[in-house]
Each structure stands twice: as C-alpha cells, then as structure tokens.
Symmetry: C2
Subunit: 240 residues, 2 copies
C-alpha cells in the first residue's frame, strides 16, 4: 500500500513541469530529485545562496519577509502551480526574503547548475520560467494592494482559497497562529474571523485543521484580488 502510494508520485504533479515539451521534460527528469518537504523547513534564508530550484507537488511554500523586529508578512505562495527560486535564473541568486514550507508534503528539486543549463538554452524552459515569474509578479503586486485596502476577513478568505487551490483536499492542516503569521496579523484576529466564517457555515475547524465547506461562499467574501491573480495564472500558464 505504501509502495502503491509512493508509485503515484511523479514530477507531472507539478503543473509547470507538466507544461514542458516532452523532450525537455525527459532531459530534466533525470535530474529531478523527489524530496520530502516538512512543515517549517526553510528552503532558503534571506541573502543565502540558492542551491536548488524546488517544484512543489503536494507541499506549499510561502515566500515571506521577516522584519528586523521579527514581524513578518507573506509576499506570495507557491504550490504545485509554481517553482521556488526564481532569483536563480533572474540573476543575483538570492533575495532579501525567505522561503519556508507552510504545508508539509513532497516536491522535486533540481541542482541550481543543471537548472541554469536548461534555462540558458533560451528555449521553452526559459520561456515557461519567465511566464511563471510574470504570474508571480502579479501575485506579489496584488498582495501589496490587498494589504493596503482589504479587510482581514477578505484577506483570510483569499489566502484560504489560494491554499485550497494548491491542495488536494478541502482540509488544510494548519494552525491559526500560522495563518496569522502568513497574513502578518494577530493570531486573535484570525481566531475571531475564523469563528465568523464557521458560524456562517463556510468553514469548519478543529485544533490545527481547517475544512472548507462552501467555496462559493468564501469567494463571495473575498476581494477581487483572488480572481485577478487566478485569471492571470490561467492566462499565462495554460499550455498553447
């Protein structure tokens, strides 16, 4: 049984890898290493060199910035729809932000040098990575706008929806404390908002778990930011 589950794991679970032309996918696949990505693992630290690019399959990674006073805020999330480490091929090879796993799971990684070799062919891999980076830019932009103008409830709904999109099930294994850290708000604020959403029948939760009961309801309570980003990902990253 364990072996059977294990056999289901494939790099194709990552949408970006799945979009590569077969020839390139096969060339790359040899170098893709399946890795477990447990909750809390740091994929890179601020200012640290990137040794790998990561393609999450069942895990979700948060790109965030930690301030001098310890407060933090998420800049963007990356799941099976993306790749962690765009600074690798954009140049500079590091960023002031950091990447940590916020939902444990699996993913594939490839050595920085091998990734660069394929990128530098200036073919489909490069074009795909650049389009993804453009989608990431939209996500970051919308995070900035959302942080400025929208309520905590709207932001929490947005965050839940994105995280659910990157998740196989309707249940997220996630504490309120962690969500608060991502959104850069107080834990108590999340407790209150989650209570409201549960009373409204949109979610249900127990210690460390959140289950979505009514996705359309969540969508109606979030801001336009969710659909703006979602549509942009579809536009930029549908195969053609």
């Amino acid at each position: 049984m364990v072996a059977a589950v294990s056999a289901q794991k494939t790099p194709m679970q990552n949408h970006l890898l799945a979009l590569l032309p077969q020839e390139i996918f096969e060339r790359i696949a040899t170098h893709l290493e399946l890795v477990s990505m447990p909750l809390g693992e740091a994929l890179y630290e601020p200012g640290g060199q990137l040794h790998y690019a990561y393609f999450p399959t069942t895990s979700i990674v948060s790109l965030h910035y930690v301030m001098e006073n310890g407060a933090s805020a998420e800049i963007a999330g990356v799941g099976n729809d993306g790749v962690v480490g765009v600074a690798l091929f954009m140049g500079g090879n590091t960023t002031p932000s950091q990447a940590t796993v916020c939902a444990g799971g699996y993913g594939y990684r490839i050595k920085a040098r091998l990734m660069m070799e394929e990128f530098n062919r200036a073919g489909p891999m490069m074009r795909l990575m650049l389009r993804y980076t453009q989608a990431l830019i939209t996500q970051m932009s919308q995070t900035a706008v959302c942080n400025r103008h929208h309520s905590m409830e709207q932001q929490m709904c947005r965050w839940l929806l994105f995280t659910l999109d990157r998740s196989a099930s309707h249940e997220l294994v996630m504490t309120q404390e962690l969500i608060a850290g991502m959104l850069g708000v107080r834990r108590e604020g999340i407790t209150e908002t989650a209570g409201n959403l549960q009373r409204a029948g949109l979610i249900s939760y127990r210690r460390g778990h959140i289950t979505a009961l009514d996705r359309p309801g969540l969508e109606s309570r979030t801001c336009e930011c969710y659909s703006v980003v979602k549509k942009e990902f579809q536009r930029l990253l549908s195969d053609v």
Copy 2:
C-alpha cells in the same frame, strides 16, 4: 540655451541603458526615440497591449493597480534606474496593473518588436533586463510588507526618498493628493504627515512642491524597506 539643454539629453541618462555594452547600446540607440512624458500620461492600461518599452530619464513612472471601487495603490516606481514594460519580455505582454507618469519629464522608448529582437539574442540585454526585473520584484515585495506593517509617516518618507533618488534636484513637483493616491491613503493623512515633517525641519513645501531639507532625517524616520530595496538595486545593477 534651449538647444544647449536639449543637446544634453542622451539615453545614457537612463542607468540601465548606460550599463549595456557599447556594441549593444549602439545597435539599440538607433531605435530609441526621445519622448516627452507629461504628468498623468498613461503608458499602459490594465489588460492593454504594450507597444513600447520606456526608459525614463528625467520622468518618474508609477506602476499601480486601480481597484473596482476606484481606490488605488502603487506597486512600484520606475525612474532613470529602470524600464517600464517588463511584461513585454517576461511573456503575456500585459498586466492587470497600469503605468502612469507621476513626475513629468523625458524618456526614451523603443518599439516592442525591436526590444524583443534584442532580448531574444539571449545576451547582455536579456541578462540586464532579467536582473532589473529581479530588482523590481524586490521593490514590489517590500511594498507589500511595508503596506502591512509600517506607519504612514514611514511609508511617506520611503516614498519621498525613492522619488528623490530618481530626481535630479531636491525639489519634487507633486501635490499631496498625488502622493496620497500613490500610497493609497487619504489626502488629509498626507497633509498632516507633511506638516509634521515640515515642523521637524525635514522638508518644506508649498502648493504643489516639496523640497527635501534633511535627507538623513528622512532616512531616520523611514522603515528598513527603503534601504533593503536600495541595496538590492545596487547589488543587482552595478556594472561588473
């Protein structure tokens, strides 16, 4: 006299163009068209196709998102240190955000097709544009973080400092209303904050003009976001 000033205009005033190897600069220069970029001009609308890439010299451009309800927020600014229209070479050729001139001046533009031709050589131009895009990503990220955690005064100081950096003089031609729009806050809030900064001797202003009197003072009142972004621009975009 007018002719003499006009003769001083050169694409080299844009730091990115100045970083290009001479051979490429010369190839490009033929296609660079000097354009006046008056306050308020829209370089592109959300969802609209990009027909040119713009390299500001004395103008400053704001990338911002306008929400359904009309509220807006700046995502990043671009001056003589950058280029407007990265979506051109990243793929997709449009964005949900828009670009408008927030400080009138001049710049050079190049037709999208010609820009792509040079980019697609996958040489120094491509590498420079990607490094710039990485710097832009840092700026956007930090905007998101700053919007979340920092006070209006910190944010206004940050904005003034960036704008001064992209400006030849210590005086900005700029209304408080415009600054409020950039930061996505109330105009009255800017009036109050500007009053505080003036009383503290850091700036002085009159109807439509702001003069910086004490840069170190402004730097001491802003948040870490200013220096994080500034250092990242230096790291990524100093010639080597």
